[in-house]
């Protein structure tokens, strides 16, 4: 019985693992953008108390190991607020997303702050409200500037998602280790899992680079020179 035929036997289980991992990553990245971008805007444009609150959030989520955060939410916070029967997958995606938002907010903040003050001044001089200026002038530029750095978030999130093994989500690492305990083929199976992680990584980064090129503008960011 060779490793390949074992992998084929388990292929639908592995596919579940891949789908779960990608699901975690995409939801968490999406949540990260959804929260991280407004947080970045808040840190640049809002009042001191708001900036302070966002600072605390970022400090908290960047300050703890992922596993600690995961256990804190899985065993503590979710049951504590009466959401003890929320599926592990949801808790995992939320924790990864909340943590990702803290990191992403700083990527977006850097991008926003790198935009020259003149852009806002020109927008306001034409009669745009601050909100319109941010939406139509600042954000489109900030997103372009942020994207190369933001691309890091995909491989980070993909590899970080393996920590969800610890709360029993059937993502790729969980699937791998269960197959190992059934077959005792430790190295071949883990190598296969490593190969899958690397392929997912490669594919995702390809898509992100294509996106970078698609929204590229002369005089802006990579490849312009």
């Amino acid at each position: 019985m060779d490793a390949l035929s074992i992998l084929i036997d388990w292929s639908s289980y592995i596919a579940t693992g891949i789908a779960t991992t990608l699901g975690l990553v995409l939801i968490a990245l999406g949540l990260g953008v959804l929260l991280g971008l407004p947080m970045a805007l808040g840190q640049v444009y809002s009042s001191r108390p708001v900036r302070w609150a966002i600072g605390i959030y970022v400090w908290f989520f960047r300050g703890l190991p992922i596993l600690v955060l995961l256990f804190l939410f899985w065993f503590g916070i979710f049951p504590g607020i009466g959401l003890g029967n929320v599926p592990a997958f949801v808790v995992g995606a939320i924790v990864l997303g909340l943590r990702g938002a803290a990191y992403q907010s700083q990527i977006f903040r850097g991008a926003i702050q790198s935009i020259s003050e003149g852009q806002m001044i020109a927008a306001r001089s034409l009669g745009m409200s601050r909100f319109t200026a941010i939406k139509s002038v600042i954000l489109p530029q900030a997103v372009r500037i942020a994207l190369p750095g933001w691309s890091n978030e995909y491989p980070n999130m993909l590899t970080d998602s393996a920590v969800c093994y610890a709360i029993g989500i059937t993502e790729l690492l969980t699937v791998t280790s269960r197959i190992v305990t059934q077959t005792y083929l430790t190295m071949p199976i883990f190598l296969a899992a490593a190969g899958i992680f690397i392929l997912l990584n490669y594919g995702g980064l390809k898509i992100l680079h294509a996106l970078e090129r698609k929204i590229e503008i002369p005089g802006f960011g990579s490849g312009a020179v």
Binding site: S116, L126, G219
Partner: protein
């Protein structure tokens, strides 16, 4: 006020940054169709004055009226007044992520609420006005400084302003590009646009200005028509200032 055709009234503007008093009481009226040119040494508050007019910088004291309405302390209505007061900056401040056409279109769409066709039509008309119709689809990084500045003039014009503030519009340009921008401005002046211009271009000031205001240390030190200022012996300070330019040019 309107009976005298006064478009803009500036009254006793004061502004300090920290302990530095940049503007120490500036007042003047702007009549419809006139071109007022502000000259004077760097750091005398000329740019700050323009920004105090459209409230990009909030003056510490003093008031500004557009037609009969007070701009100062107007709350969010300032966004309405700013549409009526165009502004052109030394470094153009074009929106870097948008083509020339979209730079001109943006405020038409987002502020004036035009539909796409209207905005496009209007933007193309304004680009034609500054001779850049053929450059409509180019991004700011692909334009020369002179072209960029003309796009920014088109962008200001698109809002149909009652007055345009020019903040050293040619200071970042070489002589040739300066000329192409000044020609556009001169044409605007001839068409009856009301303009306030901060500049070091004395030739432009003398040929286009209805009035030159010489600013020094935060006040208007001398003011008058170009003719008066260059020929009347009592305007000594400004003459000294202009003399410095001429001696550089070997004139």
């Amino acid at each position: 006020m309107n009976s005298n055709n006064i478009v803009l009234r500036v009254e006793d503007i004061h502004k300090s940054f920290g302990d530095k008093e940049v503007l120490r009481g500036i007042s003047f009226d702007v009549v419809k169709g006139e071109t007022k040119v502000f000259i004077g040494p760097s750091g005398t508050g000329k740019s700050t004055l323009l920004r105090c007019i459209n409230q990009l910088t909030i003056p510490d004291r003093g008031r500004v009226w557009l037609d009969d309405e007070e701009i100062t302390n107007s709350g969010t209505r300032i966004n309405y007044f700013r549409q009526k007061i165009g502004m052109v900056f030394q470094n153009y401040y074009l929106f870097d992520h948008l083509t020339a056409l979209k730079n001109v279109e943006l405020a038409l769409l987002k502020v004036r609420g035009m539909n796409k066709e209207e905005a496009r039509e209007k933007a193309l008309t304004e680009l034609r006005q500054v001779g850049l119709e053929d450059w409509a689809d180019h991004y700011p990084a692909e334009l020369s400084g002179g072209q960029a500045q003309r796009v920014s003039i088109a962008r200001a014009l698109a809002m149909d302003p009652e007055v345009i503030l020019f903040d050293e519009p040619t200071s970042a340009l070489d002589p040739e590009l300066t000329r192409e921008v000044l020609e556009v401005m001169k044409r605007l002046a001839q068409q009856g646009m009301t303009m306030l211009v901060v500049t070091h271009e004395m030739g432009f000031a003398c040929s286009v200005a209805t009035e030159i205001l010489f600013m020094e240390n935060g006040v208007v030190a001398e003011r008058g028509t170009p003719d008066l200022l260059t020929h009347d012996p009592q305007f000594t300070r400004m003459k000294n200032f202009i003399g410095q330019f001429n001696s550089y040019r070997g004139g």
